[in-house]
């Protein structure tokens, strides 16, 4: 079965049905390893103490927030350029998941910042860029919810996603520049001066676990979205069927 066969929603549903249990198992296994590494194996940082454990959540969430927008960008190209039938399903399903991980990145960053900087928020380049990304996610979700027809909504969202993808490097660059202009007195580099291998391994383990989690959630959400569209078309058909029945009965 070639990848293109998955463009058929029914085949995709069957594929999802078969693959999901394996993905769930893989995710749970990966988290078991990752959490064990992060919570028990990783040593305390000489500078940050045990709060470095927050990084094992914060960095994977940041990575996923950006990865998700990248995935939606590819889906957007699928909608606008290749007219792939499932592209906008993939995009719509991904947005809330990406937004949730971006939010988690901001929250864990805040929890990390409070012991380190003394405030819950610091307008430093990285956190600020992620905040802007979060606002863009919310705007995208609002756009999805503001158009009733899935096809039109998909195309509008695809355009916004592409615009966002082009703009995100620009935003990151300008926020970096803005931040160097206003260099705060105490510069705290997230992650410390260099990352030791004993920290890197748990970090990768958690990153893999979170990525598997994302893929599992995304696949399941895509399945739900396909079902939702089926419901919608069946309800519309039922209206026509009822209307037909009424015409038939009135003629009988």
């Amino acid at each position: 079965m070639a990848l293109i066969d998955l463009a058929n929603p029914t085949r995709f549903l069957n594929f999802a049905e078969r693959v999901l249990p394996w993905l769930v198992a893989a995710t749970l296994f990966a988290f078991a390893i990752g959490l064990e590494q992060a919570l028990f194996v990783a040593p305390d940082d000489y500078q940050q103490g045990a709060t470095v454990k927050i990084m094992f959540l914060h960095v994977p969430c940041a990575w996923l927030g950006m990865f998700c927008w990248g995935l939606m960008t590819v889906a957007a190209l699928g909608t606008l350029v290749w007219r792939h039938p499932l592209a906008d399903v993939a995009a719509k399903a991904a947005a809330p998941i990406g937004a949730a991980f971006t939010f988690l990145c901001l929250f864990t960053g805040s929890m990390w910042g409070r012991p380190m900087w003394g405030t819950y928020w610091q307008w430093d380049a990285r956190l600020t860029s992620v905040l802007v990304l979060f606002i863009m996610y919310l705007g995208l979700i609002a756009l999805w919810r503001s158009v009733e027809d899935p096809g039109r909504a998909g195309r509008a969202a695809a355009v916004l996603t592409l615009v966002g993808a082009v703009n995100l490097p620009i935003i990151k660059f300008s926020v970096d520049w803005w931040n160097t202009l206003h260099q705060p007195a105490s510069v705290f580099r997230i992650g410390g001066p260099t990352i030791d291998k004993s920290i890197l391994v748990p970090l990768f383990a958690m990153a893999i676990a979170f990525t598997l989690l994302f893929l599992t959630l995304h696949l399941a959400a895509m399945r739900n979205e396909i079902l939702r569209r089926r419901v919608r078309s069946m309800q519309m058909l039922r209206v026509f069927a009822d209307e037909d029945m009424r015409q038939i009965e009135s003629r009988a």
């Binding site: 905040l131 802007v132 606002i135 705007g139 609002a142 919810r145 503001s146 926020v175 202009l181």
Partner: protein, 222 residues
């Protein structure tokens, strides 16, 4: 009374549906609060000092943004004409719509203040003061705003007319709102003085707004 209750519930339900835009105000609030440090710089001390003002400005602009939803949608699909012909007094009906609008647009802004206050490094006292003054002041913003919304409803290319009409009217609310929020933290005047004036402004607007809006709608749509 059931008619008013029905209008209240209907408006609230529409606000949370597709195109209703109930939570868009909060998103705009967040966007404005994020934008200001880009213009001013990330100096925490400065942001903390003007934090209450930033939050009040953001809430005011976000309230303004949602005002055209008050009458425009009903005008477009003809529901406004039905409301005008209804048995319930127009003033009360309009007030019910205003209440629904505040609950779905203004109140979420108040609830967003703790989170946004953290972005501006405000302490708990300042956040509480801003939230309380916004709670007292956002109804005024809605009910004063409805006058402009009624004026603009019949205009197809209203555009920026509505904000331009409403902004001067909201100046007293802004002044006393920010004043109250800041005196809670810094003094020298006691919190009560500007806060009570703010409450008085709100109570006045609860009366003047519906009457003026109703009169406008009757004039404009006859």
């Amino acid at each position: 009374m059931t008619a008013l209750w029905a209008i209240l519930l209907r408006d609230m339900r529409i606000a949370v549906r597709i195109g209703g835009g109930a939570l868009m105000g909060v998103l705009f609030f967040l966007a404005v609060v994020t934008l200001i440090p880009f213009a001013i710089g990330p100096d925490q001390a400065l942001l903390r000092k003007i934090g209450p003002a930033i939050l009040w400005l953001g809430a005011l602009l976000a309230s303004l943004l949602g005002l055209d939803r008050l009458f425009a949608a009903d005008h477009e699909d003809g529901a406004l004409d039905l409301i005008l012909m209804g048995a319930a007094p127009l003033e009360l009906t309009v007030a019910a719509k205003g209440l629904a609008h505040w609950i779905t647009t203004g109140l979420p802004l108040v609830l967003a203040v703790p989170v946004l206050g953290l972005l501006l490094d405000l302490d708990a006292l300042a956040i509480g003061a801003v939230a309380l003054t916004l709670l007292a002041g956002t109804p005024a913003l809605t009910f004063i705003g409805m006058i402009g919304a009624a004026l603009a409803v019949a205009l197809r290319r209203g555009g920026l007319l509505l904000p331009v009409l409403v902004l001067p009217l909201t100046v007293p609310v802004l002044i006393f709102g920010v004043s109250a929020a800041e005196t809670a933290v810094i003094g020298p005047v006691t919190f009560g003085t500007p806060f009570l004036i703010l409450c008085a402004l709100t109570l006045m607007s609860l009366v003047i707004g519906p009457f003026a809006a109703a009169a406008t709608l009757r004039q404009g749509l006859d």
